[in-house]
């Protein structure tokens, strides 16, 4: 009797667990997969999340950043459309205004999605909250140079990055390239190489590799450095 009871419990436990796993699997197959638009992330206003997080808003920012990365990852593999990306990045950076990676990668993700005005807004917000960091004006300058082909705006932001402490040696090199308008393709290749070396994101790495190949092909043809839109350049330099 004493042995039978645990054996019976174990049998029921195993059968119930197997049944639950099987049913869950069947349920996932039976349920229609929501379209990308239907799966819009839950995005409450930053003020609400700030209050709800009871002082742990940096942690809330981390959780929304994870959601941002998942959202970008899901869509870059499927429809390559990112209608909620800006709001996710904005919410993350509103909850933690000093979250540098969120500005840098959020701006890069938005520029990959060709949402340039939103990317500019993200970089500018980051610069406003972190005026001593060289990385954000540098990234904004890089976007003006590589994506928008706006050399004067790019130069202004690179010069601003160059004035800030802690900048690496390649920043003044970029300033020199852009001032003389010489070796622009080499400068662009070097920038994409830096991105490829430093990113952990496979899609960003792939994008950098593709851009390097394009630029190398252009160098052979003697074409200009970028064919990107120039209208974004009107959105401003380093004021």
């Amino acid at each position: 009797m004493k042995i039978r009871f645990p054996i019976a419990c174990l049998c029921v436990l195993l059968i119930a667990s197997a049944a639950a796993a099987g049913l869950l699997s069947a349920l996932e197959k039976a349920r229609p997969r929501p379209a990308a638009e239907a799966g819009a992330p839950w995005l409450p206003p930053a003020g609400v999340v700030r209050v709800m997080s009871l002082g742990y808003h940096a942690l809330a920012a981390d959780l929304f950043w994870l959601r941002t990365v998942q959202y970008f990852g899901e869509h870059i593999q499927t429809d390559r459309r990112y209608p909620h990306l800006y709001r996710l990045v904005d919410l993350t950076t509103s909850l933690d205004p000093h979250f540098l990676d969120a500005y840098q990668l959020g701006g890069l993700f938005l520029s990959i999605g060709r949402a340039f005005p939103e990317a500019i807004a993200v970089y500018r917000k980051g610069i406003e909250h972190n005026p001593d960091r060289w990385e954000l004006p540098y990234d904004l300058g890089r976007m003006y140079f590589l994506d928008l082909g706006d050399i004067p705006a790019a130069l202004e932001w690179f010069e601003r990055a160059n004035r800030l402490p802690g900048h690496p040696p390649y920043v003044p090199r970029m300033v020199a390239h852009l001032r003389t308008r010489a070796g622009l393709i080499e400068a662009a290749i070097e920038m994409w190489e830096r991105i490829r070396e430093t990113t952990d994101n496979p899609w960003v790495r792939e994008k950098a590799t593709q851009e390097i190949r394009k630029l190398q092909a252009r160098r052979h043809r003697g074409a200009p450095v970028t064919t990107g839109p120039t209208s974004g350049g009107k959105e401003g330099g380093a004021n």
Partner: protein, 254 residues
Amino acid sequence: MKTVAVAFNTFREAIRDRILYSLLVFALAMIGGSLVLSTLSVGGEVKIIKDLGLAAIGLVGTLIAVFIGVGLVHKEIERRTLYVIITKPIRRAEFVLGKFLGLAITLAVNVAIMAACLLLLASAMEARLTSELLVPIGMAFLKLMVVTAIAILFSTFSSPTLSAIFTLALVVGGSLAKDLKLFAASFGGPFTQAAVSAVYLVLPNLAALDLGGAVVHGGPIPAAAVGLAAAYGIAYVAALLVGAIWIFQYRDFK
């Protein structure tokens, strides 16, 4: 000396409480889980570990302080051991202080275990000793002292359930004190603003003791800011303990 004896007795009693171990395991799982979460991120991996680790220390420490703190005095009344204690040559103030110190020691041991786990993880991720985390961990401990003092204050005159509700309400209010003031400044009239300012000054401003944000981002923390925050925390704890002793002193146990 009598205070120390009560403190160690309270500590021995607290470490027998199963809830303590459940919460500690939960905190360690949260800190360990941060490693898994960080692998899902692109950028900010170490930040996630530090934020989650500091949040685990704060949240679990608060739960330990509340759920053990609110029963400290009430249990002695319920088991009638208090009637024996107050007939001994021990002042009521010494008894309350001993209870507070006993829970403070319990929390110190728990915070030390959680902090060691967090430091180990963060140091391994950054390949250097992340000793700068000791400042926000120390401030988190001070925050827990404020919560413990609130719990003990309510415990001197109320039941554990009501004490837990009051303490948690004050902790939530204290966490939102700054937002409350900003809200009143934006929407309220002069009377509302004055009333909210008074509430703001009375509530424990727990956000003032939170220095995790600056440290996690590698920013400098002025020694004056740490000193002032620590002085604020100590002054608030002292005020709460005086209040608790005062109430307990005049409480009739007949």
